[in-house]
Amino acid sequence: MPFLTIVYALLFYVATALLVGGLAYKIRQYAKTPAPLKIPTTPAPVTRSGVALRMFRELAFFESLFKSNKWIWLFGYLFHFGMFLVLARHLRYFTDPVWTWVDLIQPFGMYAAFAMAAGLAGLWARRFLVDRVRYISALSDHLMLALLMAIALTGMAMDYLTHTDIVAVKAFFLGLMYFNWQPLPQDPVLLLHLALVAALMIIFPISKLLHAPGIFFSPTRNQVDNPREQRHLAPWAAKLENK
């Protein structure tokens, strides 16, 4: 087994473990921390299903952001929706036989990469051009965009410029999943692309990317507006009553 294959195999095991473990830890923390007071941003839905719909609109359309700022919405939506399609397209490397719907979206996935890169470029430009956004940006905010942009560009490079042996890449990842390791093609662009992805996975649970699980737990968005109808009491607050 080539040395680099072993390095990358181990890298992806570690990255996956950190991603899953880290996210599980944070999600558990969010779920276990009580929300002692009803603080939905109103007007808010008065039923559970209403809340589910509100949350769906936030996830699927970035509703609040749309109200807020059309430029950020446009770039953010291009980036996320593009990334979503690109990720879905990547499922073909992990499934055998490839699921039909994954096959069907392959052509869209190609354009999605451009949308993703364009969105990232727009978001990044704002960090330089808008004085307010420049003020709130730390180095890590730039690096995060650089990382995602580099992933997108190396990925597109393989589509349009250097081409790699994707059959072998698929064999490598299926091999990882079934503990039957296969050699990884030694293409520099591919190696770079994969290293960056592993880095993203490792960073995910210790960075602002926690916004993805966070939004589900945001009390201003996920609470039902029914404080008069139903008494809402956190365990630690209930203890005060017995004093």
């Binding site: 007007p43 952001l65 807020s68 916004h211 737990f217 109808e229």
Partner: protein, 496 residues
């Protein structure tokens, strides 16, 4: 008038360029030892305050899911940066909601996250130093906890929650704010924010009875501590004598009179305000709330109705059941508590009041949505009732009503500039500058529709506007209570 310049109202509202540090000098007076200790906080900065503050921060992240999730989730997208009236009015970048949060978040990161512990420079994490604490004291007292930023953040990050937590941490290390903490102390000692003792309250109300009888020839009652009344009314103490608040109180009394429903105020709970919320203290907020429960039990009422007040309505609507419930001893046919506007609105709907709109013909009205009512509570059974019910009541009471521009009302409403425990003279510059977006919107309807008066349903908004309107060239009496309009229009003795 003062040693600062009132911002200029531009033809169109513009998002200003930032000017660093221009409001760093703005700080409210610090609470004295005796007022700190009354609330269970240390009297002055404790020796190991850094550790105490960090312990408190950790405790709060474990107690409040919102605080924890908000600290982790911000992506610095910038969507909130132009949403705060204090940023728009002062141009100080630390008044951008995300930058305000970051004052606390950078300390959270430094001490409680992997990235901040090992790569502080990379993520902008810093240690808690005296300079940072000073910045907290300054800028967490430049947030009126109005939640406008939360509406526009893609994750609903609510800077109000962060500033409440920050104030709680500061209280716990011994640097509390004079205005809020003194007032909470007065509520414990005397029963209301203004420190108005029971005999004075009784006197004041008797005076009002006489005044209304002189005006109208009808004996409209203002009862206090009457056992067995149907309804306990809890209203901000400013309603007892400040202008234009008191005209609102007269309105409530006339409505009860016409409805033929017995009601009473309570000298024990002679205050609807609950500044415990502003300082983020669950315990103090609960203690202040319990007075309402005690009064309701003691007087044996069937319902609780809250007077016109913004944050008080938030605490009452959203938190009272949690803090002082359950209210199973009250009449289950009515929500607990109700807003006085829900009550009046319902009577109007049922045709139980006769209103002569022409009595208000000398005014062309607009309406200011108070932030806590708009974004942190509801009225009626449908979402958004907090916008329609007050407007319905205004329209039923007067002939001329025009709304301010869409992006400045309803959930997008701008704070008056004095909410969240900032309604104090030592913050006058901030209050004047923070009122700018509202003043711009008002000016627009003044010019387009000849609006002469603005109605509000919040004691803080009313006091704040009386004070700042003149800075922008309006008269101080152009702010009125919604129930003042009802009071003017109501025809007494019609429905017996």
């Amino acid at each position: 008038m003062a040693d600062f310049e009132t911002p200029e109202i531009k033809e169109y509202p513009v998002i200003p360029h930032l000017q660093e540090g221009v409001m760093a000098h703005s700080k409210p007076f610090v609470a004295k030892e005796e007022f700190q200790e009354q609330l269970g906080f240390p009297g002055e900065l404790v020796d190991n305050w850094e550790q105490v503050a960090l312990d408190k921060m950790q405790e709060l992240t474990g107690k409040y899911r919102g605080f924890q999730v908000f600290l982790d989730s911000c992506v610095k997208c910038g969507a909130c940066t132009d949403k705060c009236h204090y940023y728009l009015g002062t141009t100080d970048p630390k008044n951008m909601p995300v930058a305000r949060q970051d004052l606390l978040r950078k300390v959270y990161r430094r001490n409680f996250t992997f990235a901040g512990k090992y790569f502080p420079k990379l993520v902008g994490a810093v240690d808690l130093t005296k300079e940072v604490l000073d910045d907290w004291y300054s800028y967490f007292h430049q947030c009126s906890q109005c939640r406008r930023c939360s509406v526009y953040c893609p994750y609903g990050i609510d800077t109000a929650e962060i500033s409440m937590a920050a104030r709680e941490i500061m209280d716990c290390v011994g640097v509390g704010q004079k205005y809020c903490n003194e007032i909470i102390g007065k509520v414990y000692k005397i029963g209301n924010n203004l420190g108005l003792p029971e005999p004075a309250l009784v006197d004041t109300l008797e005076g009002l009875e006489e005044e209304v009888e002189e005006d109208t020839g009808v004996k409209v009652r203002f009862p206090v501590d009457e056992k067995g009344a149907d309804v306990l009314v809890v209203t901000p103490s400013a309603d007892f004598f400040a202008e234009p608040h008191v005209d609102g109180l007269i309105g409530y009394a006339k409505v009860f009179h016409e409805a033929g429903i017995s009601w009473t105020l309570s000298s024990h709970a002679s205050e609807a305000a609950n500044f415990g919320m502003f300082i983020g203290s669950y315990e103090n907020m609960r203690k202040v709330s319990m007075r309402i429960r005690e009064a309701a039990l003691d007087l044996g009422v069937k319902r609780i109705i809250m007077g016109e007040c913004g944050h008080a309505w938030r605490v009452a609507y959203s938190f009272l059941n949690t803090l002082a419930g359950p209210f199973d001893f009250l009449d289950p046919n009515y929500p607990v508590p109700q807003h006085i506007l829900e009550f009046t609105h319902d009577l109007i709907q049922r045709g139980a009041l006769t209103l002569d709109k022409s009595a208000n013909d000398d005014m062309i009205m607009t309406y200011h949505d108070s932030c806590n009512v708009a974004r942190a509570s509801r009225m009626g059974s449908r979402p958004g009732g907090q916008f329609t019910i007050p407007r319905d009541v205004i329209r039923a009471s007067c002939n001329h009503f025009f709304d301010m521009p869409q992006e400045t009302i309803h959930e997008a409403t701008y704070c008056c500039g004095g909410g969240g425990g900032l309604l104090t003279d030592d913050l006058m510059e901030l209050r004047v500058k923070g009122a700018l977006p509202r003043m711009e919107a008002l000016k627009q309807v003044v010019e387009e529709h000849g609006v002469t008066h603005m109605a509000a349903i919040c004691a803080i908004c009313k006091s704040q506007f009386s004070k700042v309107l003149p800075y922008y060239g309006f008269t101080m009496d152009s702010i009125v209570s919604v129930h003042q309009l009802v009071s003017n229009a109501i025809v007494l003795g019609n429905k017996q």
